[in-house]
């Protein structure tokens, strides 16, 4: 037999397989490209924007309300500041907001989901009822109430959104963990005397990783949207810090004639949210986790 076997093909690494499938998925590639572009632009904003000094509360009345041109790509606002520059700087705020919210909400939600799904019983009842309760509150309304009661600013907005956002991850991880709980590899770990911590975070968590990745990517877009809605209502980031939602709200006063002042910053919000969503959608196809929304 042995002389019949041809030389086995060199094993292809999983990472390469994933990359190959990822690069053949146009949705994922476009999404990733948008995300990388926006993140890079936000990081290097002071060096790549045409008028970095327009970020502050400067006034240039001679250049106010100018339509988009070669000099001002997105036109200028009601005090003569370059809107394109402010949009790029606005991305910094949006990305920071989403990153902080998810840095709090994802670990919290995932841990609670693991505990509820693996232990069941009272842990499940308490955690999942808490989740149901939090789901009944619209995050935007919660953020509105909290920021209005305290002072409206970015920090309060972030904590208010994070205080509800964990629920989605808890539900997701709970449903995955519950189906994994009775499987052989968990029983094996139990018999071998693995600690609960080991089972939760070394056995169960890796099996949830792809779902968490997909969900977090989608979330980035949605948290940015909520942050924008909040500042559109005047309760998020306070001027003069450039913020996309605030720019839409201010520019809306000049609709429909000076459309660029509100619609272009609005389109910029759409652009980044679209990027994260396409990326998440592509990753969902890649990892075949259809249940994640």
């Amino acid at each position: 037999m042995s002389e019949l076997t041809a030389e086995a093909p060199a094993p292809v690494s999983t990472a390469y397989q994933n990359w190959y499938r990822f690069s053949r998925n146009p949705t994922a590639v476009i999404g990733a490209a948008i995300v990388v572009l926006v993140v890079l632009a936000a990081i290097f904003a002071p060096w790549i924007t045409p008028h970095p000094d327009h970020v502050g509360a400067i006034v240039n009345f001679r250049a106010r309300h100018l339509p988009p041109s070669a000099q001002y790509w997105f036109g200028t606002d009601n005090v003569g500041r370059d809107i394109f520059t402010r949009v790029i700087f606005g991305y910094r705020v949006s990305l920071l907001l989403a990153a902080v919210v998810l840095a709090i909400a994802v670990p919290l939600g995932v841990s609670l989901g693991l505990v509820a799904g693996y232990f069941g019983g009272w842990a499940e009842i308490v955690i999942m009822r808490l989740t149901d309760m939090a789901l009944a509150i619209p995050p935007l309304v919660m953020a509105l109430a909290v920021t209005a009661v305290l002072t409206p600013n970015l920090i309060h907005a972030m904590f208010a959104i994070a205080a509800l956002w964990w629920t989605w991850h808890t539900r997701l991880i709970f449903s995955i963990t519950r189906t994994l709980r009775g499987q052989e590899f968990i029983e094996a770990a139990q018999i071998l005397g693995a600690s609960r911590f080991h089972i939760l975070f070394r056995e169960l968590l890796p099996n949830c990783a792809s779902a968490i990745l997909v969900k977090t990517s989608l979330d980035f877009g949605f948290v940015i949207l909520i942050g924008a809605a909040l500042s559109f209502l005047g309760l998020g980031v306070q001027p003069p810090t450039p913020d996309l939602g605030t720019m839409v709200a201010t520019g809306a006063d000049f609709l429909p004639d000076r459309w660029w002042e509100s619609l272009l910053p609005g389109a910029a919000i759409l652009f980044v949210a679209l990027g994260f969503n396409l990326l998440g959608d592509g990753l969902r196809d890649l990892y075949d986790v259809e249940s994640v929304r």
Binding site: I137, P139, V149, L233, L255, D281
Partner: protein
């Protein structure tokens, strides 16, 4: 019977959810810096006046007692006095809730009327260009900020084309009063007032469209994936082998079970839909509970804020119970087993 037990159990949990919500919102409203009585009266009121209002509102008593007072009021359906309008919050919300309800209802109708057929068509042409278009459209709907869509619709349909009104529920000179259900479109129809109905409908259209985009996208997406799942079932294959025509197979045997996931999604998404209503109502000057909520939040009118959040929560719970019942009708297995 199992189904009834299931519904009763859900009802009990819902009450618990509302109870929890009342604690959360009470904490947010009371454990905060600033003096609501001072805020309501303004800086020029004397300290006595402020103390007087505080006593009237019960703000001088211990927190636990204030909460007891609040929850007893809630149980009696009394949300307290608005610091600002000096009227019972009940009256304010009763006036504004119907408008929000009408808007949300129209949004759900639009989302299902377009989302489900789009999902079915996409599933039937899986991986074809129609499918890709629907999937991209669904994502686009989900990521378009509702305030941007609202502004766009206002500019396009209102200012540029002059086809639809952009603010309010009725034309300023309209004699229509909503006094039966509070829903203007329904009331005018009941009274046979076709002109009034047209007016109300034309005002409703743009806000409902702006609000429905995200939900419509979700429903199309979920309908598509659940239709594809159902199509893989053996009984559908058997149906094909028996020569049951495509149309009957799709609409009679596939759509019904595939209808459950979109319904469940609506229940989950309802909170964010209600949240978006806060923005859309503001853009369209829609005189609903959400506009009232934003106003009272900005003015720190605490009783009103608590009232709006509690009623939002109640609305959420009722919608979800309704969905549970609907799912029971669509899927008989749920009726027998009591849950999914």
């Amino acid at each position: 019977m199992e189904f009834l037990y299931f519904l009763i159990r859900r009802l009990m949990w819902s009450l618990l959810v509302l109870f929890g919500l009342s604690i959360v919102i009470f904490m947010i409203a009371r454990v905060m810096p600033g003096d609501p009585a001072r805020l309501a009266l303004g800086p020029r009121a004397s300290q006595e006046q402020v103390d007087d209002l505080k006593a009237k509102m019960g703000l001088d008593r211990p927190l636990a007692e204030q909460y007891r007072h609040f929850i007893i009021g809630l149980a009696h359906g009394d949300l307290g006095l608005s610091f600002l309008t000096k009227r019972p919050v009940n009256d304010d919300i009763a006036e504004t809730f119907a408008a929000t309800f009408e808007l949300v209802l129209a949004t759900i109708v639009i989302a299902f009327a377009f989302g489900v057929p789009l999902g079915v068509v996409a599933a039937a042409n899986k991986d074809g260009w129609i499918d890709n278009l629907v999937r991209f459209g669904a994502i686009l709907g989900a990521v378009t900020p509702s305030f941007l869509l609202a502004l766009l619709l206002q500019v396009l349909a209102g200012y540029e084309l002059h086809v639809l009104p952009t603010t309010g529920r009725l034309s300023p000179d309209s004699p229509v009063h909503a006094n039966i259900t509070g829903l203007l479109t329904i009331d005018t129809l009941l009274k046979g007032d076709l002109a009034g109905f047209g007016d109300a409908l034309r005002h409703l259209l743009l806000p409902a469209l702006a609000l429905s985009a995200a939900t419509l996208g979700q429903i199309a997406r979920i309908t598509r994936s659940s239709m594809i799942d159902v199509a893989k079932q053996d009984y559908i294959e058997a149906g094909r082998a028996f020569g049951i025509p495509d149309r009957v197979r799709v609409f009679k045997y596939m759509l019904r079970p595939a209808f459950v996931p979109p319904l469940t999604i609506l229940g989950l998404e309802f909170a964010s839909l209600l949240g978006n209503a806060f923005v859309v109502e503001l853009v369209f000057a829609w005189p609903g509970m959400a506009s009232y909520g934003v106003r009272s939040i900005l003015q720190k009118d605490l009783n009103a804020v608590m009232g709006v959040v509690m009623i939002s929560g109640l609305f959420f719970v009722i919608v979800n119970l309704t969905i549970d019942i609907l799912v029971g009708f669509v899927d008989p297995r749920v009726r027998i087993r009591g849950s999914q």
